[in-house]
């Protein structure tokens, strides 16, 4: 690192310019990171969908709980779960989260992605007012297994006229799904349904696990055919198919945003690269002096490249950090549409690669010109 002082004084040569260049690179990479986070957020919807899961909803109106056994009896359906629930809060009305009322055994079979240890499973299955919660929400409120938690609702009234459910925490689940899915409070459907004053015996959606994903369409049809003459009729489709429909429709805009953003990212970097090249070109005579003093081609190129890559790397790293912070800041407002919003490791890797590539281009462009000149000519140009 004996060249460090030389490198440093080059960087300091025009402090303002270096700082501006650095910030331009920073905002370009912040943009890149943000776009990558959003793309990941979109794909995250896909990642949650499983080919082995199909879902049944009502074409009109709401699904009665009485459909459950009929759907479960359809050939090819290995297990079934259903959801109802409400937006609950804990202590303060601002501490809101989703309370999901479901059938515990069925739920864990249909969602093998949700991990819950054997002891907690047993405790929860047998404990009607029991609950299991996601790892993140447990951490946020400091809930411990065995604790009795008051869960409140703003608009659902219990038969006794109150709005509070006291649930015992039987276990904490974990999952590799995006963070949003680690913030649920899961309770027994039976307990919830018995307690509410109105709108009993309905569910929001049925989810079925099927043995053979290739049979998804056929099994869906078998289910829907059972209810052709009932009210409500059902619409069943694989999670993956439904998600694809959603993504294609929503993605229309996402794609446009992405293309426009990517175009800007590259043009911003090109402008920056040009500025950096300019600053090397201005020093052609200095570089010639170095050569005249006996520095080799390799050393001179190394110095120039190190300077350029140094600027793109520092600016780029800052930009990615900013993108990460921004993604974290907006996650709450967009999580319903982009549940997996976040900077994926692959994007960080690609970002680092881009920093190096652009740094090398910025340094290499003027270098060609520098080496084209003989030291004597270059010196004379000054």
């Amino acid at each position: 690192m004996k060249y460090w002082p030389l490198l440093w004084s080059n960087i300091k040569r025009k402090k303002l310019r270096t700082i501006f260049t650095l910030f331009a690179v920073t905002s370009a990479f912040a943009l890149f990171g943000l776009l990558a986070s959003m793309a990941h957020g979109m794909n995250g919807v896909m990642q949650i969908a499983s080919a082995e899961r199909i879902q049944t909803s009502a074409k009109l109106g709401a699904l009665p709980i009485s459909y459950g056994p009929k759907i479960a009896a359809v050939q090819g359906v290995t297990s079934i779960t259903w959801f109802n629930g409400f937006r609950g809060y804990y202590q303060d009305k601002k501490n809101t989260f989703q309370v999901v009322a479901t059938n515990p055994e069925g739920f864990l079979k249909v969602y093998p992605e949700v991990r819950l240890n054997e002891q907690a499973r047993k405790a929860w299955f047998g404990d009607k007012p029991g609950a299991v919660v996601g790892s993140l929400i447990a951490k946020r409120y400091g809930w411990k297994v065995g604790e009795r938690i008051p869960v409140q609702s703003k608009n659902i009234t219990k038969e006794d006229g109150t709005h509070t459910w006291y649930v015992t925490l039987d276990g904490i689940y974990n999952t590799d799904l995006p963070d949003r899915y680690k913030n649920f409070v899961l309770i027994h459907y039976q307990y919830f349904n018995d307690s509410i004053a109105k709108n009993k015996n309905y569910v929001g959606v049925y989810k079925e696990r099927i043995a053979d994903p290739r049979q998804a369409a056929a099994i869906s049809k078998l289910i829907d055919d059972k209810f052709t003459t009932s009210f409500p009729q059902t619409r069943t489709a694989s999670e993956a198919a439904d998600t694809q429909t959603f993504i294609r429709e929503f993605g229309n805009i996402g794609f446009i945003t992405f293309v426009v953003g990517a175009a800007v990212f590259f043009s911003m970097l090109l402008v920056t690269v040009n500025t950096m090249s300019q600053s090397v070109r201005e020093r052609t005579s200095e570089l010639a002096v170095l050569k005249a003093l006996g520095f080799g081609r390799g050393t001179v190129s190394g110095l120039v490249l190190a300077e350029a890559v140094g600027v793109t790397a520092i600016g780029g790293a800052l930009g990615l950090v900013i993108a990460w912070l921004l993604a974290g800041a907006i996650y709450k407002s967009v999580q319903d549409v982009l549940p997996a919003l976040g900077l994926p490791p692959a994007a960080i890797g690609l970002g680092i690669l881009l920093m190096i590539v652009f740094g090398v281009i910025a340094g290499a462009l003027p270098l060609r010109q520098v080496f084209h000149l003989r030291a004597a000519d270059a010196l004379r140009r000054a």
Partner: protein, 394 residues
């Protein structure tokens, strides 16, 4: 300022320095061009992203009138005839020749192929015979209105354009019935143009819904009676309903999507703006340092500081304006009227990107601001240059 000069001379000095610096741009074409491209790119993307938002907002804000209320049930279930009657008897409900204008409707979605591979949801709305009283903008532009009892449908013009299966004259098989497309309707560019309409009783029978409805549309005697109407329904123990004005209902429904576009789009435009500003700062500093000798000469000739400062700022503003106008023009040509679809309120929602005059003006102001900030600091530096050293500087 060390020298006192009359405003007239000052103005003349400023004008001539500005003219001089603009004239010399052609000798610094490359950096100037890069700055212009930078400004242009930012304005372009700014306009592109916000035209999406404005296009969506335009569709949603055209949907619904202030004197129409939407009544929907809290919780699951359907609206039955006694409930419909109770709602019709509330204060503020307008009356037509056949009694109160409280119309039950049926809203659900159809899954239709957009192409061989792509399925999309389209909102199907079953409406009663007095639909004209609620949706007065709706009119058939091709074919004719559906006749009740015959399973006929009319499709909004955006839907007709998007789905080959739902064109005029086609028959669409859905829910064990064959629906015939007998008309295409327009509705003043609102979201109903992305829907499919049928007679409410045909939809009820296709869905085994008996004589129940998914929601109720109520024509009020005037927009002002809304609160009274809402209060009456809310305080009725037989009803557990939400009451919204039609004009705000759909915008609220699409809040999620809107916030994603506004937040993400806004952040992207902001980041780009900051990036481009630093680019502009660099360019203007480079321009000032390239003109060091020139500026020092001007000062030595007796020009005051402020005209020199102004000329640099003026140049940056000029570059900003050129970039802003170019970005606006390209943006307008590229994005205005661009047709896109998204998901709104459970079904497909077609809209067009809208590059509004306000948006163009905002884009230009944004570019000028970037130019101003990018030019101001280098300008101050130019004015502070000590004349004697600067003139010697190479």
């Amino acid at each position: 300022m060390s020298r006192h000069i009359s405003p007239l001379i000052w103005a003349r000095e400023t004008a001539s320095v500005c003219k001089f610096s603009l004239g010399s741009i052609r000798f610094r074409l490359q950096p100037a061009l890069i700055a212009v491209i930078g400004f242009c790119g930012v304005v372009l993307v700014f306009i592109g992203l916000l035209s999406i938002r404005d296009g969506l907002t335009s569709v949603l804000s055209h949907t619904g009138s202030d004197d129409v209320a939407i009544v929907s049930l809290n919780g699951p279930g359907m609206v039955d005839l006694p409930m419909l009657r109770t709602i019709g008897e509330a204060p503020g409900v307008a009356h037509g020749p056949n009694g109160p204008l409280a119309l039950g409707d049926m809203v659900t979605s159809l899954m239709v192929h957009k192409s061989a591979k792509q399925l999309a949801a389209v909102t199907l709305r079953g409406v009663g015979r007095q639909y004209k009283a609620i949706w007065n903008k709706m009119h058939v532009i091709k074919g004719h209105m559906f006749k009740p009892g015959l399973d006929q449908i009319v499709v909004g013009r955006s839907t007709a354009a998007q789905f080959p299966q739902l064109r005029l004259g086609k028959t669409f098989h859905w829910n064990h019935k064959d629906w015939k497309v007998v008309g295409v309707f327009a509705s003043g560019g609102d979201m109903h143009e992305s829907e499919v309409w049928a007679d409410v009783h045909d939809v009820q029978s296709a869905y085994n819904a008996g004589n129940t409805f998914s929601g109720v549309y109520v024509k009020l005697t005037s927009p002002g009676v809304f609160d009274k109407f809402k209060k009456a329904l809310k305080s009725n123990p037989q009803l557990n309903v939400s009451v919204d004005r039609e004009s705000t209902f759909f915008a609220n429904e699409s809040k999620d999507l809107n916030s994603v576009i506004t937040i993400a789009g806004g952040l992207i435009a902001l980041l780009m703006g900051i990036g481009a500003m630093f680019g502009a700062l660099n360019t203007m500093y480079a321009a000032v340092s390239a003109r060091t000798r020139e500026i020092a000469t001007l000062r030595a000739l007796g020009f005051a500081r402020s005209p020199v400062v102004l000329s640099v700022v003026f140049e940056a503003l000029f570059l900003g304006a050129v970039g802003g106008v170019a970005g606006g023009a390209i943006g307008y040509l590229m994005f205005n009227g661009f047709k896109a679809t998204t998901i709104g309120n459970g079904g497909m929602l077609a809209f067009q990107f809208a590059v509004t005059p306000t948006l163009l003006a905002t884009g230009l102001i944004y570019a000028l601001l970037m130019g101003l900030v990018g030019g101001l600091f280098p300008a101050i530096r130019a004015a502070r240059l000590p004349i004697a050293t600067a003139i010697r500087d190479v």
